[in-house]
């Protein structure tokens, strides 16, 4: 079964045959750059007011600075595994198919957001902001990865 016209890895590919590590690295860096900058713009700037409605749920400015490395680490791991997922799942690359994969990955995240809403006293404004934010974030990150990886080795299918 292929949903949304995505062609996945139906067989076990040999990594050496399909991976262009240079393009992989560039795609990973591009994905990290986008995820981090968009996250800052969306969650820290645009949603700042919404987050301030429930300050008890968030760290203070100084505490946040102390934990900033966790934020960077989280984005690095996120970008790396999203790139890996795109490369394995859509070995031929391409912005469209990878954007669709990004959409599916975003949908995986929406479930936990709804669960968070049920167990933590976040507002519906925050919930909606997180849902829309992660949809944009993963669709565009997927498209970025696909666009960069598309021009990879000719061995890719």
């Amino acid at each position: 079964m292929k949903l949304f016209g995505l062609a996945g890895t139906q067989q076990e590919p040999q990594p050496k045959e399909i991976m262009d590590w240079k393009k992989f690295f560039i795609a990973f860096v591009a994905a990290f750059g986008f995820l981090f900058l968009f996250g800052f713009l969306w969650y820290a700037i645009l949603m700042h007011g919404a987050h301030q409605e429930v300050p008890a749920l968030f760290r203070t400015e100084s505490e946040f600075k102390e934990h900033f490395l966790w934020l960077v680490l989280g984005h690095v791991v996120m970008a790396f595994f999203l790139t890996l997922l795109c490369v394995r799942f859509v070995p031929a690359g391409g912005a469209g198919p990878c954007a669709l994969l990004g959409l599916l990955v975003a949908l995986v995240y929406e479930g936990p957001h709804l669960i968070t809403f049920a167990v933590q006293p976040i507002t519906t404004k925050i919930l909606c902001g997180w849902i829309v934010g992660s949809l944009i974030q993963f669709i565009v990150a997927g498209a970025t990865i696909g666009a960069v990886y598309k021009s990879s080795s000719p061995a890719t299918r």
Binding site: F64, L85, V108, I115
Partner: protein, 109 residues
């Protein structure tokens, strides 16, 4: 489509039961340490349908990704996909840990 629906139901039941057992039973004391970050029990129960919808959405999107690209690899492919998606989820938890005052024990759990 029949297998897709069966896989979705199986995934949903597992996620629901495991979520209840792991978060509701095994990690109960750890969550209690950060009580102030969570809704009171009665309020949580009144929003319980969001947990069901969230877990159903999670199961559905997982099965959609598996069915559209990993199905040929059988159980091993499913496990690999599960590991990759879980690592993505862990990375999101690291970001949440940076912004929300959860105890480190909760992040590790």
């Amino acid at each position: 489509m029949k297998r897709f629906i069966i896989a979705f139901i199986a995934a949903f039941i597992f996620i629901f039961l495991w979520g209840w057992f792991y978060n509701g039973v095994l990690l109960k004391d750890v969550f209690a340490e950060a009580q102030s970050l969570f809704r009171p029990r009665e309020e949580m129960m009144s929003l319980f349908h969001w947990i069901i919808i969230g877990q159903a959405g999670l199961a559905l999107s997982f099965v959609m990704i598996y069915a559209s690209g990993f199905a040929g690899g059988g159980i091993a492919s499913g496990v690999r996909l599960g590991i990759m998606l879980e690592i993505l989820a862990v990375s999101a938890r690291c970001a949440f840990y940076a912004t929300q005052p959860f105890p480190a024990k909760l992040l590790c759990s």
